[in-house]
């Protein structure tokens, strides 16, 4: 299951009337949105939206029926067990040879402020400013120690750029920590603090 689907599940399950609606769905063979609403004293729109969302997640099936000439839907449970199963490794950024071979350095006039640790050679946080004029906001990014050591050894603006791998070696950072380093590189590149130069 991907994060987005899991988030939809979680969002629905977190409603305070969710358990009551599921109780009705389990005990009734099929039920309409108006029946749910009157039974639980909810607004019909609330019940309708909840049932529609469950149907979209493939938890319910809906069947169109006619009462006199007015059509409406009746919902019935498709499965009696809900399992939220997320493989966290799907969001892990595996360092590719390409990403580690990227030449980078600090961007000129990046406008970021770096705070250095008092007792060691690493940077504790980076402060960047986003937006313009009155909309400008300060954003402080706290760094892990390996990230701080990496940034400490990042080449200066206009200096000879180095690959991510070379900087990690200079800073004495273990290869296994590459994902968190690449995450920082990506973030600082987004905020124009770091520039990458293809093939130098």
């Amino acid at each position: 299951m991907d994060f987005l689907t899991a988030a939809k599940y979680a969002s629905l399950l977190s409603k305070d009337y969710a358990e009551d609606i599921f109780r009705l769905l389990v005990n009734y063979q099929a039920i309409s949105a108006s029946e749910v609403a009157t039974r639980l004293n909810l607004h019909i729109k609330t019940a309708q939206d909840f049932l529609e969302a469950l149907e979209q997640l493939d938890i319910l099936t809906k069947e169109e029926v006619l009462e006199k000439k007015r059509p409406y839907y009746r919902y019935s449970l498709k499965q009696t067990r809900l399992v939220i199963d997320i493989d966290l490794m799907q969001v892990k950024r595996e360092p590719s040879p390409h990403s580690l071979a990227l030449y980078i350095r600090e961007k000129e006039a990046a406008g970021a402020r770096f705070s250095v640790a008092r007792n060691d050679d690493y940077i504790t946080n980076v402060t960047i400013w986003t937006g313009k004029g009155r909309e400008m906001e300060e954003r402080k990014i706290k760094l892990t120690t390996p990230q701080g050591r990496f940034l400490y050894h990042l080449p200066f603006p206009k200096a000879e750029p180095l690959t991510v791998e070379e900087i990690m070696q200079k800073a004495g950072i273990d290869e296994r920590l590459a994902p968190e380093i690449l995450d920082l590189v990506q973030l600082l590149e987004k905020y124009n603090v770091i520039e990458s130069l293809e093939g130098k």
């Binding site: 600090e106 000129e108 006039a109 990046a110 970021a112 402020r113 770096f114 250095v116 008092r118 007792n119 060691d120 050679d121 940077i123 940034l151 400490y152 050894h153 990042l154 080449p155 200066f156 603006p157 206009k158 200096a159 200079k170």
Partner: protein, 273 residues
């Protein structure tokens, strides 16, 4: 040795202002409360200078600071006696006049010699000129990040000894922690703020750090970088500043500390600059 200056001319008058501020304060207090109160105020201000130079001596071990402190004690004492004698001028008494003029001549000669030999001069400008000397490339590239410039083999005792040497000769003010020895070069005029802790955190100033693992890193404050006439290649400038201190350390380690002083004197930077 090149005498082409890469720093802008020194127009900092903080040092002069601090010293000269005595005069209007003396004048005003004399005008309002009378000459005797004015003299006591002057004694108080000279005393404050004395305490400042005593602290400077304790912090750096620089003998010239102690001599200036002794001079302020002498001068303050003379003023104190002169202020408390009522209508009769103490200078009309031969003993007092003799003590005053002999003391004045003695301290005058000593202080002029200290000034001429640059013993009481903070060497920040020399350090920045030396760092900029080999840099020819132009191009901004300033960053507030420190720059690791290399690794040097030293024992903690050696680097602490070097820090004391730098302080004694006013090359840089050391800040020592359990893991780091950080040397902060200070230009003339900036010493009051830095010594009295009024210039903010020393980590925001220009510094060269020697850590426990032998790593040497450099940070140049934007204010100091902007003091150069041209936007020198920042990366090279940091490396060069680090190299200046590594060379100084090497001279000191070989017992050739005097060569460091010679190198600084060769730049012939003005005494009060």
């Amino acid at each position: 040795m090149s005498l082409v200056r890469k720093l802008k001319p020194d127009r900092n008058i903080t040092g002069v202002l601090v010293s000269l501020s005595i005069l209007p304060i003396f004048g005003l207090t004399s005008l309002i409360f009378g000459i005797s109160t004015g003299m006591y105020t002057l004694v108080g201000m000279v005393g404050l200078f004395g305490i400042y130079y005593l602290y400077g001596f304790i912090r750096t071990g620089n003998i010239a600071q102690l001599v200036i402190c002794l001079y302020t004690v002498f001068f303050g004492y003379i003023l104190f006696v002169a202020a408390g004698t009522g209508k009769e001028s103490p200078f009309e008494r031969i003993e007092f006049g003799l003590a005053y003029f002999l003391g004045l001549i003695f301290f005058g000669v000593v202080i002029i010699s200290i000034a001429l030999t640059r013993k009481a001069k903070w060497r920040g400008r020399e350090i920045f000129e030396l760092a900029a000397e080999p840099i020819e490339d132009i191009g901004n590239g300033y960053t507030s990040r420190p720059r690791p410039v290399g690794k040097v083999d030293y024992s903690p005792q050696q680097v602490h000894g070097f820090a004391r040497f730098c302080a004694r000769n006013l090359i840089a003010l050391p800040y020592i922690t359990s893991k780091n020895v950080t040397l902060v070069p200070i230009k003339m005029g900036d010493e009051f703020g830095r010594l009295l802790g009024l210039s903010g955190d020393y980590r925001d100033a220009t510094w060269v750090n020697f850590d426990a693992d032998g790593e040497v890193s450099v940070h140049i404050a934007q204010k100091d970088y902007l003091d150069y006439r041209e936007m020198l290649a920042f990366d090279q400038l940091c490396t060069s500043l680090g190299q200046v201190f590594i060379d100084f350390f090497s001279h000191y380690n070989q017992g050739e500390g005097v060569r460091v002083i010679d190198r600084l004197d060769e730049l012939k930077i003005a005494i009060f600059s």
